[in-house]
């Protein structure tokens, strides 16, 4: 067995060792097929492709199980609807805080500050609001997890919006 094939074999064996229960059978299947791949380079391509597929599969499984555990155990449809409504309530709360806080403050800032200062001050105000969102989400995490998730979702959306807006300003 050449070094390339040895490496390919070691790669798939490592993937097999670290794969979760849901991917274990597939990792073993890929490893067994390696014996039938003719050339060493083809074996390496097979192992790299297989390891990538296993990583993606494990990552998607872990992502979905994290989301399930974050929302709580699967319940009845009515309970799922309630959780979804609570998450929307969280987004709504965050949106209302943004509308009342930032827009109100910004109106005063427009009058008080020169135009060049607006952007920097707005970002500072939004950063402070993000801290409030984060603290609120942490406080609600145990008692009202869907609401906390809604607030976090709004915080992420606001951050992305500000990042895109700032990026556009820099390009100009």
């Amino acid at each position: 067995m050449g070094p390339t094939r040895k490496f390919a074999c070691a790669l798939l064996k490592t993937a097999l060792r670290h794969s979760g229960t849901e991917s274990h059978c597939w990792a073993e299947a890929m490893l067994r097929e390696l014996d039938f791949v003719e050339s060493d380079w083809a074996a390496l391509r097979w192992a790299v492709g297989g390891t990538t597929a296993l990583l993606r599969h494990s990552a998607s499984r872990r992502g979905s199980s994290w989301l399930t555990s974050a929302l709580g155990p699967e319940g009845e449809p009515a309970s799922a609807r309630k959780k979804a409504l609570e998450a929307v309530l969280g987004v709504g709360l965050a949106g209302a805080m943004l509308a009342l806080g930032v827009c109100g403050l910004w109106r005063h800032l427009v009058i008080l500050l020169p135009r060049a200062e607006w952007e920097r001050t707005t970002i500072a105000v939004i950063a402070a609001l993000e801290v409030v969102y984060l603290r609120g989400a942490i406080a609600l995490w145990r008692r009202r997890r869907p609401v906390a998730l809604g607030i976090l979702l709004a915080a992420v959306a606001l951050t992305v919006h500000v990042a895109i807006h700032t990026g556009h300003q820099e390009i100009r």
């Binding site: 097979w46 192992a47 492709g49 597929a53 599969h57």
Partner: protein
């Protein structure tokens, strides 16, 4: 919708349809379809998770470690046949709407 109808998925479905009762090995599917393991296995995993593909381990022979085998479940076969009929129907419709000039 059972599966995302990507060209690669359709290739794998067509390969299984060519001999639907036979068990197939992963590397043979890869050789016949030209798909690499990184593309092929996610498709096989999705098909198995959606109940379209049944899997089993080969009985070991001559001290060789067993290989994983795949074939359509009855539901998978029905789905693949429906999809194939749908595709050939839409192909025929396209040919009728845009006939090739000779």
């Amino acid at each position: 919708m059972k599966l995302r109808r990507s060209p690669h998925t359709l290739q794998v479905l067509d390969f299984f349809l060519s001999n639907p009762k036979a068990w197939k090995h992963g590397y043979d599917i890869s050789q016949s379809t030209g798909l690499m393991s990184g593309t092929l296995y996610p498709i096989l995993i999705r098909m198995a998770e959606r109940g379209l593909l049944e899997t089993c381990w080969e009985t070991p022979e001559g001290g060789r470690p067993p290989r994983h085998l795949y074939r359509f479940t009855p539901e998978g076969l029905r789905y693949a046949r429906e999809l194939s009929a749908e595709r050939s129907g839409s192909g025929a419709r396209k040919a009728l709407l845009h006939p090739r000039k000779s």
